[in-house]
Symmetry: C3
Subunit: 468 residues, 3 copies
């Protein structure tokens, strides 16, 4: 078979496949709207060539190295840097060969689909990666990476990205965004406000982060009101660079809405590092509600990404640092957790709060019923481990009947793996068209309506929900 079949991901049944093809034909070439992700704005600012196949596609990709690690390959052998600078593999070709030897492990995974898509559409390779062709493929990619048309801005344009959002810490000076703006390049790259480091008392260096927040905002982060003002200023600063959203990665979806005096007192505890773990969690929850209230004022869309147990293995954290594949989903409650926020602002139709989850059981039980009635709520697409064909199908099957399509917000690629962006959007478009085709062939939706919905899922909803 060719590496990519034109009918991939469509149902095998001919009638359903025919409808899916027709729907997909209408959306496959739509521009990419990427309202949430983790690409590095420096790439677009400096527009330097990417270094080599391994450092582009393997070393930074936690989906890739976690699978290899799970089967006994050490991260050092894959060139993943250690926190103490202990030596790791530095030869990208050796790393690439190790990956090729183990590529069979990805059978049935989205990484496999994304990788094949990248090889085929970006690098013109139409063979399955294997130990036999690893060197030849490495050479072809390495050669292309040196060319101008493989620099970040050229790829951005080739990928037909209409707009992409990065995710940036509250303390970030957005200098790369400034540099992009100053460069005169027309690619639209906007930041998103991610204040975890100054909102989560458990974040490394929280107290110093607040000092730094005071410095750059000029507000007094020693007081509750000053601290809130500092957020308002930073949000305005981010907005001035085109930001339309904030993003919050909390361990749970807990929210709180304390009376101002209690909130101020809680802040004092947290600020002076006297808060216990319950108070620290409550503070995070309070800040979600504060952020929602600020969103009512400034219009930023609020994204909540809860439920990851970060850095589950302390020994791996110590040796390799954060984001090394050891973040594990946990059971996450929303109905009780979000109530304080919803009581405060949930019925406001001018607010948009986008909910994500790593716990698929909440799609039909909690998220769809909540988003199906609260005007402030929308459902984000399947996230992280669930950003996959089966995960997306389950999301549509479990959320649509209660929330409909129009309380969802299209697709997020949510990736730092820049070359995989077209592949990820393509998978989402195909899976949505396949789902819609089933509704059409089962006479649950007219084909003309399905075309409209497909367009909205691929393009319109993301633009409207994120105000892009």
């Amino acid at each position: 078979m060719p590496l990519l079949d034109d009918d991939r991901l469509f149902d095998a049944e001919p009638k359903a496949r025919g409808v899916a093809r027709a729907l997909y034909a209408g959306v496959r070439n739509l521009p990419i709207v990427s309202p949430h992700g983790h690409t590095d704005p420096r790439w677009y600012a400096e527009n330097q060539n990417f270094p080599d196949p391994a450092r582009l596609l393997i070393v930074p990709d936690h989906y890739v190295f976690r699978m290899l690690f799970s089967q006994g390959v050490r991260l050092e052998e894959l060139g993943v840097p250690t926190t103490d600078g202990a030596a790791v593999e530095t030869d990208p070709r050796v790393i690439w060969r190790r990956f090729a030897e183990n590529y069979y492990l990805f059978r049935g995974t989205p990484t496999r689909m994304w990788f094949d898509h990248t090889l085929s559409t970006l690098f013109g390779i139409d063979e399955l990666l294997s130990p036999n062709n690893a060197d030849a493929i490495y050479d072809r990619i390495a050669d292309q990476l040196t060319r101008d048309e493989f620099r970040p801005r050229a790829l951005f344009e080739r990928f037909n990205i209409e707009v992409i959002s990065t995710t940036d810490g509250a303390l970030d000076d957005l200098k790369w965004h400034q540099m992009i703006r100053d460069s005169g390049w027309r690619g639209r790259v906007v930041p998103a406000y991610r204040p975890d480091a100054v909102v989560d008392p458990d974040f490394e260096g929280f107290s110093k982060n607040l000092d730094r927040l005071a410095e750059i905002s000029g507000a007094d982060t020693g007081t509750w009101q000053g601290y809130l003002d500092a957020h308002r200023q930073r949000r305005a600063f981010f907005k001035s660079f085109g930001a339309t959203s904030s993003d919050h990665g909390h361990p749970s979806a807990e929210t709180a809405n304390l009376p101002p005096g209690e909130a101020a007192a809680l802040f004092d505890h947290v600020r002076t590092e006297k808060a216990d773990s319950r108070q620290r969690a409550q503070f995070r929850g309070q800040m979600l509600t504060e952020m929602a209230k600020m969103s009512v004022d400034d219009g930023l869309v609020l994204q909540i990404h809860p439920g990851a147990w970060r850095n589950h293995s302390p020994s791996m954290l110590a040796r390799f640092g954060r984001d090394k594949g050891f973040d594990i989903p946990t059971r996450t409650d929303y109905v009780a957790a979000l109530k304080p926020l919803l009581d405060a602002v949930g019925t406001n139709p001018d607010l948009t709060v986008i909910l994500f989850t790593l716990d698929e059981t909440v799609y039909s039980r909690e998220l769809a019923p909540l988003a199906g009635v609260y005007p402030a709520l929308r459902l984000g697409p399947p996230w992280w481990f669930h950003d996959s064909p089966e995960g997306m199908r389950r999301f549509r099957e479990m959320a649509t009947e209660t929330a409909g399509f129009y309380n969802t917000v299209g697709f997020n690629d949510d990736t730092r793996a820049f070359p995989s962006i077209p592949a990820r959007h393509d998978v989402a478009r195909r899976v949505d068209c396949t789902f819609l085709a089933r509704l059409v062939t089962e006479h649950r939706l007219g084909e003309d309506e399905a075309h409209e919905v497909a367009h909205d899922l691929a393009y319109g909803l993301a633009k409207r929900a994120y105000k892009l």
Copy 2:
């Protein structure tokens, strides 16, 4: 496409579709047995025409207005009455137009299927509702609603309803049921005993409700034994009107089985409003077991509908009252929760307890394993948010392998939306036939057996489980 295709909901694959068609042909015209629902007995008693399209199909339907509200339409604009009598939209045509403008929101939802079915089969309309045809369709429906053949009893007969159960508070005098009986009309409408208002200490006016219970029963509801006697009398009264079931809508499935002295002491606490929230929950749990014991004596089938967080938004409750789309499912445990009841009466094959859930994760993990061994237990059909094609499919896929078909009880329409009853039963029959057709085409069940099962799922099981 026509508004309703004859093959709707069947698998597209021709062989499976052929089997589904054949199975469905055997059950599509079976009478409707509706053993649990919320239609108003007054309709059948008075047999008045329904007022207008909006007040029949939109204003009272929380599935409809919650979706519109979620997208920014205010309930006032849809004519939903306020608790303080503040003005709301009163022009049914205006309400209807607002609905038509937003009808696309229901794509992929069961409301869409039910509504199309109603338009097509009840009112003879074969176009998709849209802003363009909203007025014309309004006029056609409004005109028909004035006719005799659209009065409740005529519709009851046209819908081929063999028997329907309403749901009636323990304090209800059943006067509409009496009036139906006295009228000589042959339609079979029976009540169900729903004692939440006199069982749940958190119910509005609980203490006064118990005073009222004393008045109408003549029993002394100031004592535990008198209170239980009052229930026995009311159950007998309901039975005299044909009731075969009781129904219980508790926040959780918690049950308790205290020694008589402790139960009496708990009742005293509850009766005098000294009980804390833990004791109030325990009392509700105790009463489920008491009701089960009474069922052993009087034969009423016990239905448990747990797990809804009622009136999640206090501001919406204050402004619009109960049942306005703000009931949200919560995680619900059964294995520990039901144990006291099951220890007491669970192995009694003469008792029937029908379990419902809003938490689909329990189908395969808890409910099917429990119902697959305890003779007193049966599984109710997918409920509320899950009464939908995908929800029904998941139920069969997750429950059947452990509980079989014969520990389930057929379909409940569970609706107050009278015109949607045929649509709902039709969806259930089609989905069940589709599931059975898959078993047949995958050679997991003989086609002759599948016909028997289809008949049981559409008709026989409901009659037998509910003793109708």
Copy 3:
């Protein structure tokens, strides 16, 4: 239809069915590797004929009698022995007829598939069991059971079992295993080390079990170190009979990793029966970690089977004893529960811990993310209630995208129903081929690769994961 269709369980869609057939053709005749199960080693040791159809197929099978009991058949009527010796049905033909009358209850269940497969392939019966043919089928089976070719060893060979593991208590003398070895028969039957009775303080006779453990090991089980030594000796003894695994059936997946002094103190509490329920749970958790550490030394694969609420009905336990169909799954956490064990040994690629669950919600949320990164972890196949076509399909759909195929371990029949072993493996092979065929027809996997995976799922992974 014939009792068994050659295409059973394959998708009806012709292209997918064609691929599934081709994949299945490559694995249908592979030897059976049965790395975990509950057949009785005495059968292979003594090689006696099985008594009669009822005592072979009905009386010992909790899947069978729990379903009949759920529909009002008393266990006494099915010949299930009572703990006090009260009379039960003794006529196997009467039991068989009762089963035949109720055989329709199993429609849509795996028991139905296994039973039909056994009738057809083992006894040459090609009619659906019914009250009409019950006697004739009984006679045919009974007659065959008297023959030499239906003795356990002959069946073992006919079933093409390459190796089977029994499950044996830590105190077992393995005399039947010794007798098998001494007999010169070439069938490979190995034990597995199941120390629940000497690890779980809630086990009946725990303290006496530890005394007995001291006797047979010569170690002093009055001290923590002596107790651990006793385990090491018993594990070595089991290994000398070919054991490659231990197995642990705990109420939860809780693990602990206390400092040695605290562990010793906890043991003293447990040993002297002063431990409260929290301490008893912690001790079980500590022992999982101790077992994992021993596995690092001696290479035994560690299986964890958590989450069953055993003997949910006390009255049934009192009357009929354990394992009578009243074990019910419960919600089970892994991410927090396993952390102590994983912190201790989870990144060791030389250790193999195989995780099972009765809570399907953890497949995509917890188990696949954990096994997809920790090299010590592998996912066991769907277990018990979920060892069924729909259950297996859900497992592949929910686990593969994050864990891949190679962090799973093939199939376990996990049964004490010896005649059903070929049926169970056949169902697993068919369902896996159907899943792979979908990946192939949706162009997510090459057909050549699918053949390799099918072979691994049916044979290779079990051998490698269990070191058989």
